[in-house]
């Protein structure tokens, strides 16, 4: 029922996303490509925030780690070309970091807001180190990351040099990532995560190892964030300390909140809309942009907790009245 109703929306969405680079100029196509990368990044945050109920305030640490790894490989390994090795590293290393953090935090029952604060500090640690160590480029960052190459066999591949090609590549990667995330949240594992989000004590009582499962989820989320960081490094050609910054961590939270957390698609909607808005507003009101971001935070918390996609879904498929709402919902979530 739901699938057939959603079909026109899906078709329209596909048409728009496929056709956009044909009507948008070079500038907006590149802007959209970047927004897609940010969308993957936002979706990885949504996996944790929307589906595990744990907000990572330092999600940029994973993004930055992925990006820096690719940039370092490009600098250190002679004749490095953007093969799949870089991507593998940039997925595995953040996942490993998330695993370590999970061991240190989830296993000590440090969850909720405490986790959020500590992740905030983790990304600060990275930013401090990266901007301080000369080997990592310092404040200037690392330049000269090669562009995208589609490689089918060692030595056989073609470089994507036009912005339209890059856009379509990123679009297909985004779709794959989305399908992957959708699979994760709908799998039995995802259902247990939903249970943990709703009531961790009871889920543990049922015999699930909540610390272990939450750690796995955060590793998936971190790996995806690392991948988006690697894509960004190839896309923009350089990485710099602000990728680890609190502002960037803040931005991604805004994207997810505006788009609607716990929806996956919302992450892309939020990332695209907010970045378009930023590009338009920053042109003539540079000073006001941060004020608007701050206001976004407060307004979404008070008036708009479901975000765009969440609100639209509620309008389209209102929740049945007879169903009692979960206790955690009444108290305003985690």
């Amino acid at each position: 029922m739901r699938a057939t109703r959603g079909l026109p929306v899906l078709a329209a969405g596909a048409l728009i996303t496929l056709g956009l680079p044909l009507i948008a100029g070079k500038y907006y196509t590149e802007l959209l490509s970047q927004a897609l990368i940010f969308g993957i990044f936002a979706m990885s945050l949504d996996l944790m925030w929307g589906y595990a109920g744990v907000l990572n305030f330092g999600h940029a640490a994973y993004f930055g780690l992925g990006g820096y790894l690719v940039a370092l490989l490009a600098r250190e390994v002679r004749g490095f070309d953007p093969s799949y090795l870089g991507y593998a590293f940039s997925v595995l290393a953040p996942a490993g970091l998330a695993g370590a953090l999970g061991y240190f935090l989830f296993y000590s029952h440090v969850t909720g807001v405490y986790f959020t604060i500590i992740t905030l500090v983790v990304t600060m640690i990275f930013q401090l180190i990266v901007s301080d160590w000369y080997w990592l480029g310092g404040m200037n960052g690392l330049l000269g990351v090669p562009g995208f190459v589609l490689r089918v066999w060692p030595g056989l591949g073609w470089e994507l040099d036009s912005e339209v090609e890059v856009y379509y590549l990123l679009l297909s990667v985004s779709v794959l990532c989305y399908l992957f995330c959708r699979h994760v949240v709908r799998s039995p594992f995802g259902l247990v995560m939903a249970a943990i989000k709703d009531n961790p004590e009871r889920t543990e009582f049922f015999g699930y190892d909540t610390a272990y499962l939450t750690t796995i989820m955060s590793m998936i989320s971190a790996g995806l964030a690392g991948l988006s960081g690697a894509l960004y490094a190839h896309f923009s050609g350089f990485v710099s300390p602000p990728l680890f910054g609190l502002n960037f961590s803040t931005d991604v939270i805004v994207w997810v909140a505006v788009g609607g957390r716990g929806t996956l698609v919302g992450a892309f909607v939020g990332a695209v809309l907010v970045n378009l808005l930023k590009a338009i507003i920053s042109d003539f009101l540079e000073v006001l942009w941060l004020l608007i971001v701050g206001a976004f935070f407060i307004v979404t918390v008070f008036f708009f907790p479901d975000g765009i996609v969440g609100t639209l879904r509620k309008l389209r498929w209102p929740a049945p009245r007879s169903l009692p709402r979960a206790a955690s919902m009444r108290e305003g979530g985690v």
């Binding site: 640690i125 000073v287 941060l290 701050g294 407060i298 008070f302």
Partner: protein, 301 residues
């Protein structure tokens, strides 16, 4: 704060050739940082412990205190006026924030966190608009050195530690010897029960938040001669003071003192060995490891 740490390092290198003297200087430099951390963290710990509110704008309250001194200077008032006015200004501001924002978000920690983070972004940007981007210097209220047994130390830092001590005494007195403190402790234990016993909880919350904000403002004002002031300086202190609170154990006033001692002294001594920035990162890393093994804080039961 990196600038302050750098200054601390410079101070240690130029002072005494004697090993013992330099060690003492190190310790005192650490004590200065500890004092400041206590001043900021006590406010944070009270708000956190009593109201369950995570105030991510606490660092911005700190820099508002610092900019109060700069504003007072621009108006032709001395730095002492600035330091005296800062707790009042920031405390009043905190009260406004409580009434306008925090009040609607009790018992919703994550929402409070987001809302206060939004507030901190707005404050930071407003400060940039009003006072300009980049670093500001402020007049030094108390130059000179204190000389004891041939050992010299900047007199302002001694003053800083004295103020911190006074604030600790006052806070503990308020908490454990006054009616207001009794109400605060009752609410911390059980809000519903306290409300049933005719304690006006919202008024106590308002007072608590204003008091905590005022302390952050005071800390900021006192630190103006020691650090280079910029709109971004707050975040740095925020992170460290959160670690102080978590390390000390939530809901314990005395834990703040212990947490600040660990973070402050560790950072000062490490920044003597490695670069100030790396030292700061190392301390935060060590704190995370400690939390793994003592999740209730170093001094928690």
């Amino acid at each position: 704060m990196t600038e302050a740490a750098r200054r601390l390092r410079r101070a240690t290198r130029t002072t005494s050739v004697l090993e013992l003297g330099s060690l003492l200087t190190q310790f005192l430099n650490g004590a200065t940082l500890v004092s400041v951390l206590i001043l900021i963290s006590i406010g944070l710990a009270i708000i956190f412990g009593v109201m369950g509110v995570i105030n991510l704008a606490h660092g911005e309250f700190f820099i508002l205190g610092a900019y109060t001194v700069i504003a007072a200077d621009a108006l032709g008032l001395s730095a002492w006026w600035g330091i005296a006015l800062a707790p009042l200004v920031v405390g009043l501001f905190g009260a406004l924030v409580e009434v306008g924002l925090i009040r609607f978000l009790y018992k919703r920690p994550l929402e409070t966190l987001l809302a206060t983070w939004g507030l901190s972004i707005v404050i930071r940007q407003l400060v940039r608009i009003v006072f300009g981007v980049g670093y500001r210097a402020s007049p030094h209220p108390l130059l000179g050195d204190l000389k004891i047994f041939g050992f010299t130390y900047p007199i302002y830092r001694v003053f800083l530690m004295a103020v911190c001590l006074a604030v600790i005494v006052i806070t503990f007195y308020v908490f454990y010897r006054t009616d207001f403190g009794l109400k605060i402790r009752a609410i911390t234990q059980d809000v519903e029960m306290a409300a049933a016993l005719a304690i006006n909880t919202s008024r106590v919350y308002l007072g608590t938040f204003a008091f905590g904000s005022a302390l952050a403002g005071l800390a900021g004002a006192l630190m103006t001669p020691e650090i280079t002031i910029s709109p971004e300086a707050g975040v740095n202190f925020l992170a460290r003071s959160f670690f102080v609170v978590i390390l000390g154990g939530i809901g314990q006033l005395a834990g703040v003192l212990g947490g600040a001692l660990v973070v402050g002294e560790l950072e000062t001594f490490l920044s003597y060995l490695i670069s100030a920035t790396t030292a700061q990162a190392a301390v935060l890393l060590i704190a995370i490891v400690i939390i793994r093994f003592r999740p209730r804080g170093l001094f928690g039961g």
